[in-house]
């Protein structure tokens, strides 16, 4: 009885975050390789700056956490975050695209540091 109870508690403890993650689509970094063409023109160039609407460095996204990348793209989609180019791009992405790109860039830390 106690053991059963323990297992239930354990399942609840570990099950909650697992099911929360399942709500978001699983990303496939390999599938993203044909989708990054729209990203690399800005995010793939060291020291690249946005020109509009204000000038600052385009963020480094390789090595960033997958959750954060997905949250950022979703925030651009919903308008919680505003940037003309990024809103346009994010609205063109499916949930699967977002998951794949998040997986790709979070795992892409192996490149040259610059």
């Amino acid at each position: 009885m106690n053991r059963t109870l323990g297992l239930i508690v354990l399942a609840l403890a570990f099950g909650a975050p697992a099911s929360a993650q399942q709500a978001a689509k699983a990303g496939n970094a390999e599938a993203a390789k044909v989708k990054v063409s729209m990203c690399v023109g800005c995010h793939g160039i060291p020291d690249y700056r946005t020109a509009f609407p204000s000038v600052y460095h385009v963020p480094k996204i390789a090595g960033q956490s997958a959750d954060y990348i997905a949250a950022a793209l979703n925030a651009y989609r919903t308008g919680e975050r505003l940037h003309p180019s990024m809103q346009g791009i994010a609205k063109s992405l499916s949930e699967q695209d977002i998951a794949d790109l998040a997986a790709y860039y979070s795992a892409a830390a192996g490149g040259a540091s610059r």
Binding site: V36, V40, H43, G44, I45, P46, S54, Y56, H57, V58, P59, K60, I61, A62, G63, Q64, S65, D67, Y68, A71, A75, E80, R81, L82, A108, A109, G110, G111, A112, S113, R114
Partner: protein, 108 residues
């Protein structure tokens, strides 16, 4: 003439002061308000969805904080956190995190 030069020097001095990016002061602030979610040097996402900050571009970090503070960018946690930061705090924090080494990179 002398007065004009004086005013120019003063203006330059104020401008330089307004744009000070003091990473050491940023380190103090970071320990107090950012470390719990971003890790002491900004290399971690201690809560889901938190960004890795270490080694990110300084002007981007500052811009992000500014957007959170002005409401241009919305986030349940960061919108509130940014309200408590002065412009100098935001510049200092940006300078601190940009100076740290971490996993962020530019790749094609």
């Amino acid at each position: 003439m002398m007065m004009r030069i004086g005013v120019t020097v003063l203006a330059l001095g104020l401008a330089a002061h307004a744009h000070a990016w003091d990473a050491d002061k940023g380190a103090e602030k970071a320990k107090q308000v950012c470390a719990a979610c971003h890790g002491e040097t900004g290399t971690e996402a201690k809560v889901p969805g938190a960004a890795i900050l270490a080694g990110q571009y300084r002007d981007y970090l500052y811009h992000s904080l500014l957007d959170y503070k002005t409401g241009k960018r919305k986030n349940a946690i960061m919108s509130g956190q940014a309200q408590a930061l002065s412009d100098a705090d935001m510049r200092n924090l940006a300078a601190y995190y940009a100076r740290q080494s971490g996993p962020l990179k530019v790749v094609r």
